[in-house]
Symmetry: C2
Subunit: 404 residues, 2 copies
């Protein structure tokens, strides 16, 4: 059994690092706050007697030796947050992973296989793109070199930040072979709470497409330039945002968000010259997502033609819908049943490191309810009781996988 009080107090300790006045956390990847969180985590892992390693993309790996050689059962998540982050997103999964290994040590149990917990770098994609970058590199989807070259919105280079905070480690990402990957996470949406507050056995993760659009118009004087003569990329961005939003009403399961909108030169009396905007498009199925993207691109082409705005596209992230491994999903259900906890199957709206790890090995996740369905919001909240329930399911499923 998980030591619930210790789990809660570890989560509280981590949530003090980068705490915001609103009660949330701001630990953007590879910032000073992230470094502090990493240093704290490293010391927790070391105190547990784990074999702790850092790889070339900054993933932190704590290994518990099993009785036999071979691929490990890996638990993990991330400790970076978005700008308006909460205390639970990611942090819970890493700390629960640590507590699972601590519980085995406390009980004097040695699993057949090696077990490990990993804190992956830059899962949120709030600072560097794509999201799930650390696990993507770990899974071989992106080279270390390409990841090091990524820049944040101020042009700061990922590789330089990794060196600055001292987390450019010697290991090759993926150095530890994976037998299975399991992750506990908060749901970050309203489904479980609306359904009575049980746990979620995650069947897979929906498809994700992140686009960056750069719109170029013609800067001009807002007091002298006749309306018909303007080429306003700000207005074009507004139309695209609304168009994408309207699409979600007709394309089944479709979500759309424009979270980044940067307008230049950004002066009251200057018709904008240039806008950079993002679109986060998601759908449980690949085909309707492709349909949405095609509709957005067509709308942009027409707008560009009609209003004289140049529009260019860049992929920030593109991940297909990812089903998890049936035997592990069933394992989560069996573990919950053993513990007498209600659990239902559901798909994940958010991307997770598990989505990347499923490229390497059988993968599954367990969700606990998010109060009010809120996440990426300082008011993000899950109860201590649910956290401990989720961690116990993770422990049981991990033990099962490590000894199978």
């Amino acid at each position: 059994r998980i030591d619930g009080a210790r789990l809660v107090s570890r989560l509280e300790a981590l949530s003090r690092i980068g705490a915001t006045p609103e009660g949330g956390c701001r630990r953007l990847a590879l910032t000073d706050e992230d470094k502090q969180g990493r240093d704290w985590l490293l010391s927790q892992m070391q105190a547990l007697g784990l074999d702790v390693k850092v790889d070339a993309i900054g993933n932190i790996v704590g290994i518990l030796k099993g009785q036999q050689q071979g691929p490990a059962v890996i638990l993990g998540s991330h400790i970076d947050t978005v700008g308006t982050g909460g205390r639970f997103d990611g942090a819970l999964g890493v700390i629960a992973g640590v507590e699972v290994l601590a519980a085995l040590r406390d009980a004097g149990l040695t699993p057949k296989r090696d077990m490990a917990v990993i804190a992956f770098t830059n899962e949120e994609g709030a600072r560097f793109h794509p999201d799930m970058l650390g696990s993507y590199v770990w899974a071989g989807g992106m080279s270390v070199e390409a990841a090091h070259a990524e820049k944040d919105s101020e042009g700061v280079v990922l590789g330089a930040e990794l060196n600055r905070i001292g987390y450019h480690g010697p290991e090759q990402p993926g150095f530890l072979k994976a037998h299975a990957y399991l992750e506990l996470h908060i749901e970050q949406g309203p489904v479980l709470e609306g359904d009575g507050g049980g746990l979620g056995a995650v069947t897979g993760i929906q498809a994700i497409c992140w686009l960056e659009l750069t719109l170029r118009g013609r800067p001009s004087h807002a007091g002298t330039t006749p309306m018909a003569y303007r080429k306003d990329p700000g207005l074009a961005a507004a139309r695209i945002n609304i168009f994408a939003n309207e699409l979600t009403k007709t394309i089944s399961g479709q979500l759309a968000n424009s979270g980044v909108i940067r307008v230049e030169p950004g002066n009251v009396n200057v018709v904008p010259e240039r806008v950079v905007m993002s679109l986060d498009l998601r759908n449980p199925n690949d085909a309707p997502l492709a349909e949405t993207e095609a509709a957005v691109r067509k709308f942009c082409a027409e707008l560009s033609e009609r209003d004289g705005i140049e529009i260019s596209f860049r992929d920030l992230a593109r991940f297909p819908a990812t089903p998890f491994a049936e035997e592990l999903i069933a394992g989560m259900e069996a573990s919950a049943a053993e513990l007498g906890l209600p659990i239902r199957r559901m798909i994940s709206g958010a991307g997770h490191d598990a989505q990347m790890m499923s490229r390497l090995c059988p993968t599954a996740m367990v969700f606990i309810p998010s109060i009010g369905g809120l996440s990426h919001n300082p008011a993000e909240f899950s109860t201590d009781e649910d956290m401990v329930k989720g961690a116990n399911v993770l422990l049981s499923a991990a033990w099962r996988a490590a000894n199978a």
Copy 2:
């Protein structure tokens, strides 16, 4: 007569300060570039033997003593630019003012009244609000203290910047009493060029209303939050931008621009928490401008109610339509006629320091054509010939006013 070659070479010298790769200028008010421009201007005025003074808001005043005591004929404009500024906007008026006084000195002529040229602080309103701030303070529309407390978008305080660049002068703004104010400026719009390229005798300046809107929604996760559950201030900002734009099609003479749009936290996968946006609304007449503003406020109230977005308003600038003095407008026409130059009456779309000075004394302006109607754009352009024509009309009108 104006020394045309010297006028052109002075303009070129100033345009090298803050020059951008695109061929324009970026000398935002009270930045290092603005300081360099000011230092250069001060040395030019001193070399001419003018009595040079700086007031508490950083306005630079160069005085040529006349034969009698009493109010002066003041010429002026500004040397600050917007972020995507050109070489002519403002700079031409200040340099032409200097050349008018130089021409009188060269000709050994002493006017009856004192004459002066002023470079006013922060005319553009690109960095600090309102626009025409230096002349507004000079005219008593705003206190020095209130102006010093203005902040730029990064929270930097105007008074501190004035001290930093060494332009917090000892004089009281408005210390030099005004008999008349005359200003040469580029049109910044397409009217004169479209009408054969003659000069413009400006009859007045249209009404200006600059609003800053702060929209607050609820940050949430873009992958897990159902569309119906979102409170997205970015989407609300898009709707307001488009609504204001549509209004310009039905309200006669109406212009609208949203030049500032700042989205927080600005992460791809976070439904925005907060948007700050500007609206620049203008109309030649006060009544339709008031109608536009009322329609925007009503739209926002409805949107706020319907979509759960909190919207607050702040005035950044608010100036009524400003007619100029008939005798001086006629004086501009007479001066052009004397010189054999075609001139037509027109209203100014842009705000100018003249709009503030007309609170103090009879005021008028002369415009020269802007090629392609472009301004607040690095490609802003007027011919040397037109600049010299405009400066000669200014000289003649100023001489007339200074000896009447």
